[in-house]
Symmetry: C2
Subunit: 375 residues, 2 copies
């Protein structure tokens, strides 16, 4: 299929890094939070090999921030997620699914506590600002909710530590996953977290104030010359190998966190300071799912045969002609020399012994469930 073009208007917002991204020869985009997100520079395969061997600079400004400030900010944040937030301090951010009353996933953001009574929800692709504003309006909470001028620039790849060290002159080896450090730049400083949508390691810098964006981009490209730095983006092969779920692709509002393998982020319970059980939106629904067990679950799934075509729509998964699930992301893996994918399957067919078949646009493929991701 010929790749259709994308019509760029103001509604598909450009980012503070877009001029740089165009200059680096971006080939394709997707749209994420009403904003442009690059998807290909050279080719998905070339970008994949480069990501796994060097370091890339990613314009992921589309991971927009929803800022919540004010006296009721903490109360509101606690209501939004099943995750136990007692470890959310100013030197640590947390991945925390947000749920609705039915336990369905509204979004799976990273939450940053910027300072006391001030949070950033760093969001996947849905209008969390409207969800949170709706709740605050309904409950007449004393908070201010808005999208601040903060755009994330990510550095991903095995050489990301070296690149960060070159730029900021600090040692980043000891910074743990989801830990935060402040990095200086010109007359300001930014929050930098060890996080990102790849398994190659790296950082996400929360660039506050767009006027610094292009300067920061240039500094990283200049410093990274000897490290073979290049522009990149979340890679459709690597993230499937890594089992990194994409909201809107692999999970939606119709799925709950238990079905998505996110049970470990649903451990909200006793508040030790008061002894009270903490409640959140969707607590009753999720408690029921946990007690009864999920009916379906996301798995890494391998498919045999020649490289599969692009997965642009869910592909049905069958067990003896009965539909038992669907593949939602898939790619041929050059490193594993097989087709890797992510899909949701009925719990009774989710073990490795099930003989499953996937209906792809170019025919039926035998499928094998993996208990773990490929990388």
């Amino acid at each position: 299929m010929h790749t259709p073009g994308i019509s760029i208007t103001r509604r598909l917002r450009q980012t503070p890094f877009s001029k740089k991204v165009f200059k680096e020869g971006v080939s394709n985009f997707t749209v994420y939070n009403h904003m442009l997100l690059p998807t290909v520079f050279r080719s998905v395969e070339e970008d994949y090999h480069h990501l796994k061997n060097a370091v890339q600079v990613w314009d992921v400004a589309c991971e927009r921030q929803v800022e919540i400030t004010g006296p009721d900010a903490k109360k509101l944040i606690e209501m939004l997620t099943p995750r136990d937030l007692r470890k959310l301090t100013i030197d640590k951010c947390l991945y925390a699914p947000l749920t609705n009353l039915s336990g369905g996933i509204i979004n799976d953001p990273v939450i940053v506590k910027v300072e006391e009574d001030r949070y950033w929800i760093s969001i996947a692709d849905s209008d969390v600002l409207l969800w949170v504003s709706g709740i605050a309006t309904g409950l007449s909470l004393n908070v201010r909710i808005f999208e601040p001028d903060v755009s994330i620039l990510a550095f991903q790849g095995p050489l990301s530590n070296s690149l960060m060290q070159k730029v900021f002159g600090m040692d980043f080896d000891t910074v743990k996953l989801f830990s935060i450090v402040r990095v200086p730049f010109k007359d300001t400083s930014f929050i930098a977290a060890r996080s990102g949508f790849s398994k190659q390691g790296g950082f996400e810098i929360y660039v506050e104030n767009s006027t610094y964006a292009e300067g920061l981009w240039d500094v990283f490209f200049e410093a990274g010359k000897s490290l073979d730095v290049s522009a990149g983006c979340p890679n459709g092969i690597e993230r499937v190998e890594a089992g990194l779920l994409s909201y809107g692709n692999d999970m939606t509002i119709n799925d709950n966190p238990i079905e998505c393998g996110l049970e470990k982020f649903c451990k909200k319970g006793i508040d030790w300071s008061t002894g009270k059980v903490k409640s959140f939106i969707g607590d009753k629904a999720l408690k029921k799912v946990m007690e009864e067990g999920p009916k379906k679950i996301i798995r890494s799934i391998e498919m045999d045969g020649k490289p599969i075509p692009l997965c642009t729509e869910p592909w049905p998964v069958h067990f003896k002609n009965k539909k038992v699930g669907q593949i939602t992301s898939a790619a041929f893996s050059p490193d594993f020399k097989t087709n890797v994918s992510l899909g949701m399957v009925s719990i009774e067919y989710s073990s490795g012994s099930s003989e499953l078949e996937v209906e792809t646009p170019d025919g039926t493929r035998l499928a094998k469930i993996h208990e773990k991701s490929f990388i």
Copy 2:
């Protein structure tokens, strides 16, 4: 600039008509409510002339529906909008901006009353489902809110009445703007409204149940052969000539309905049945804007010189080197042989006498404010 490609994944949802759209040779897409919306078939100019002379079939399934049902549905709907909804009956739909506490526009949908205690909000590009669910959750309202399996197929152009008549064997000439009729199809019937995102006249059919979608498409193409029917889409030239505002392009959450010229849809006042003043979210903020008058306003604006380039980002509007506004949508109009645009300007420069200049990517253009749209 080379048009970048769009990477289609499940997250950019295809519609029940997408296979037909691909078959008709769609060239470009945009993304709207996490769904594919065609933007070009032949060329924007060719599509424009055809729309103004014949009839087009538009896949605007991306105008998703937010269904609200239940005992508190009416109460919730009334809270959402400054529009007086007393005329919202089952044979009429209403264009009704939704506002937040600050009076900012959340969305500018059409609201359909499907039956008693059952509404569809036919939305522009933002997650109204999350906004409405948030409010209902905060207020513990007794409603069910979800996205139903309803996809709009639109018929726009001067021959749309003829096409509708050929297909359904009914006379549509007497159906007024925003009026609703039920049209029969196979073993079901659909809501059809005289509405749509062009000024060429036409209808929008709310196709309930995706399994009917391709069949309906085929019936219209078969019946429309003699009317030169073709696949089309909202046209970037025609809608600017017509002064039709696009949410996300010409207005955002940072603009209120008065600034967007939508004051006539903000007349909610006395409920005659009870004598009470009806309140809505944002009432205090909007009352203040109405009393003080808006500080900026959207206008149709003409720019001189040769055809302008694509408007992919806001262009600054200057009065003697002072920024007084921005252009958000623009195109060269083949019919008017001039550059037409929409932009928000400070109220003191919003009359036709102001000598304004616009900074476009290929230089400064003299600009002239029009009190009315071009068509």
